[in-house]
């Protein structure tokens, strides 16, 4: 396969322009975070489509998922996908906002296999549900734990730890 890091080097401005052009209407607020990351927002209905296209792009190809992070923003949740492009040696940070009443988003497991555990962790800690995930169990906490501790409204009660 002969994987080389940075085989297609591009300036960040050119890369941002390219993404804005290819993903017009799908990626919002595209901005450059120095030195080598592009931060963008995406609607949750479009995530799966955007993810597949980001990965398959022949020029940039964000093929590796670095991590998924769930964040509680009070009125809403956010699922953050950090992906890496071997060709351009750059990162994209994809923010997907989810309503608090319904923190659900499609899984990207089938696109980036690495998402499997990261999504489980996000479910475990923040309680974001990844629809279509093959095995959405708790990962760091016990199976019978109650609640999602990294939510800002989480209160730690003895009842939450039935196994202790």
């Amino acid at each position: 396969m002969g994987l080389v890091v940075g085989s297609n080097p591009m300036s960040m401005d050119a890369l941002a322009a390219l993404l804005v052009e290819r993903f017009a209407g799908d990626l919002d607020d595209v901005r450059i975070q120095e030195p080598d990351t592009i931060v963008a927002r995406c609607a949750r209905e479009k995530l799966k489509d955007v993810a597949a296209r980001l990965k398959a792009d022949p020029e940039v190809g964000y093929e590796t998922l670095n991590f998924v992070a769930g964040v509680d923003h009070g009125t809403s949740f956010e699922s953050i996908y950090h992906v890496y492009s071997w060709k351009t040696n750059t990162w994209v940070e994809l923010h997907v906002e989810l309503p608090r009443a319904e923190p659900e988003v499609d899984t990207v497991c089938d696109i980036w296999p690495a998402a499997d555990w990261h999504e489980r962790e996000s479910w475990d800690m923040v309680g974001i549900k990844y629809l279509g995930h093959p095995d959405l169990r708790r990962i760091l906490l016990k199976d019978d734990f109650i609640g999602h501790p990294l939510r800002k409204d989480y209160v730690d009660l003895a009842e939450n730890h039935p196994h202790v």
């Binding site: 396969m1 002969g2 994987l3 080389v4 890091v5 940075g6 975070q33 080598d36 990351t37 093929e63 590796t64 998922l65 670095n66 991590f67 992070a69 964040v71 509680d72 953050i80 950090h82 890496y84 071997w86 040696n89 990162w91 940070e93 980036w112 296999p113 690495a114 499997d116 555990w117 800690m125 095995d135 169990r137 708790r138 990962i139 760091l140 906490l141 016990k142 199976d143 501790p149 990294l150």
Partner: protein
């Protein structure tokens, strides 16, 4: 009352393993030519198993000696590191970072401190940068020594000899670190904008002594291991990580480099003073157990080279920013930052979101072992159980980092 003969209720992971067996038998794959159903057993390996190097638990489905399926179960060392960050100031949190990945704790500190510096727009002093590289590379050697030592003990042709030799050398590094920081493993040494203490008198000479002594030791270890027929037979061609696996699962560090990929964040996303230093990225081609071991040995040599250059180039000056003499209350502006740092095990990333207060709003680690462990079901299936132990040893897991 406690009944020792009572069978406990299987937990989710065991249930999943049993379910998978049932599914595979239902599809007719489970019977051999004679129509006999095969005999799969679910074996629970860990969390207190000597070969898992920590509290890793593997629910292994075995067919005789053959590993059919592996379900890793983690979380036994979970200490809520990310939750703890919510109620601690940026400064108070530094000692807690040490305790995530305890074998290379100073590298974890480095990653965290760099992220906060990026958020707050602080540039550390030049002397501090060099001290950071020296300590970081010393701990890389120490960490690789533990990794290779325990891994050769798993393979057993050399017994535990290598562990003791390697721990003996690691001890010298820990002594150096103790003299510098006051602690042997949990250093609490990096500060925003610099490091806590300057190098004590005579430390540079002691460090140079170590640099002179150590290459001969590496040679000795290689003579012990590289020509050992039993070791080679157990290592070569086993547990191959392909480049596709690296791309799919986000494998980083020596495990990726052993598969022929020149991925090293010190080069590909340079930080600190690494662009000024001359070193090679160690790469091997086959991606098997032996290559992963070789990459670690070569990297120790490169680390020595880096430390030597840093000692030569070490500039004079303060080790902390004058304006931040007491950086106890640091309030980065609202925003987020991610910094990936080349830990001995791969990309150790810290993602911090700030809301402009004294406390991190959200802190998230991207741990290299967490990502590497995800490959286990694919990597171990189809191997003999004894090889599975060798493979998991060669991946070099630290459960403190995985469970956080």
């Amino acid at each position: 009352m406690y009944d020792q003969f009572e069978t406990p209720e299987p937990d989710e992971a065991v249930k999943l393993a049993l379910r998978r067996i049932e599914e595979s038998t239902a599809h007719g794959e489970g019977s051999d030519a004679a129509g006999l159903e095969f005999n799969e057993v679910v074996v629970n390996m860990g969390p207190q198993h000597p070969s898992t190097h920590g509290v890793l638990r593997l629910v292994v489905t075995l067919d005789g000696e053959l590993v059919k399926d592996v379900i890793p179960v983690i979380g036994y060392l979970h200490r809520c590191k990310e939750k703890l960050a919510e109620r601690r100031t940026y400064f108070q949190y530094i000692p807690i970072v040490d305790r995530t990945e305890y074998l290379a704790s100073i590298n974890c500190e480095w990653g965290y401190v760099m992220t906060v510096e990026k958020l707050a727009g602080i540039r550390p002093t030049r002397r501090a940068e060099f001290i950071r590289v020296i300590t970081g590379e010393l701990m890389r050697i120490a960490s690789h020594l533990v990794a290779v030592g325990t891994f050769t003990a798993d393979l057993s042709p050399l017994g535990t000899a290598m562990v003791f030799y390697m721990f003996r050398d690691r001890e010298q590094i820990l002594d150096l670190m103790e003299e510098l920081t006051g602690a042997r493993m949990m250093f609490n040494y990096y500060r925003f904008g610099g490091v806590r203490y300057d190098l004590p008198d005579g430390w540079v000479e002691k460090c140079r002594e170590f640099l002179e002594m150590f290459p001969a030791k590496i040679k000795e270890y290689e003579a012990l291991v590289d020509t050992n027929a039993v070791f080679l037979q157990r290592c070569q061609g086993k547990g191959v990580i392909t480049q596709q696996d690296v791309v799919d699962y986000g494998i980083t560090g020596p495990n990726a480099r052993a598969s022929g990929i020149e991925l090293d964040l010190r080069r590909s996303r340079p930080y600190s003073v690494y662009p000024e230093l001359d070193f090679e990225v160690c790469v091997e081609q086959h991606g098997d157990i032996f290559d992963r071991y070789r990459v670690r040995m070569d990297e120790m040599r490169e680390s020595l080279k880096i430390i030597e250059q840093c000692l030569d180039m070490l500039p004079k000056g303060p080790v902390q920013l004058g304006s931040l003499r007491a950086p106890y209350v640091i309030t980065p502006p609202p925003g987020s930052a991610y910094v990936g740092q080349e830990n001995p095990r791969g990309e150790y990333g810290t993602y911090i979101e700030s809301d402009g207060s004294r406390y991190p709003y959200r802190l998230k680690y991207r741990d290299p072992c967490f990502c590497n462990l995800q490959l286990f079901p694919k990597l171990l299936s189809g191997n003999k159980i004894a090889d599975a132990v060798a493979i998991s040893g060669s991946i070099d897991l630290v459960l403190g980092g995985i469970d956080r």
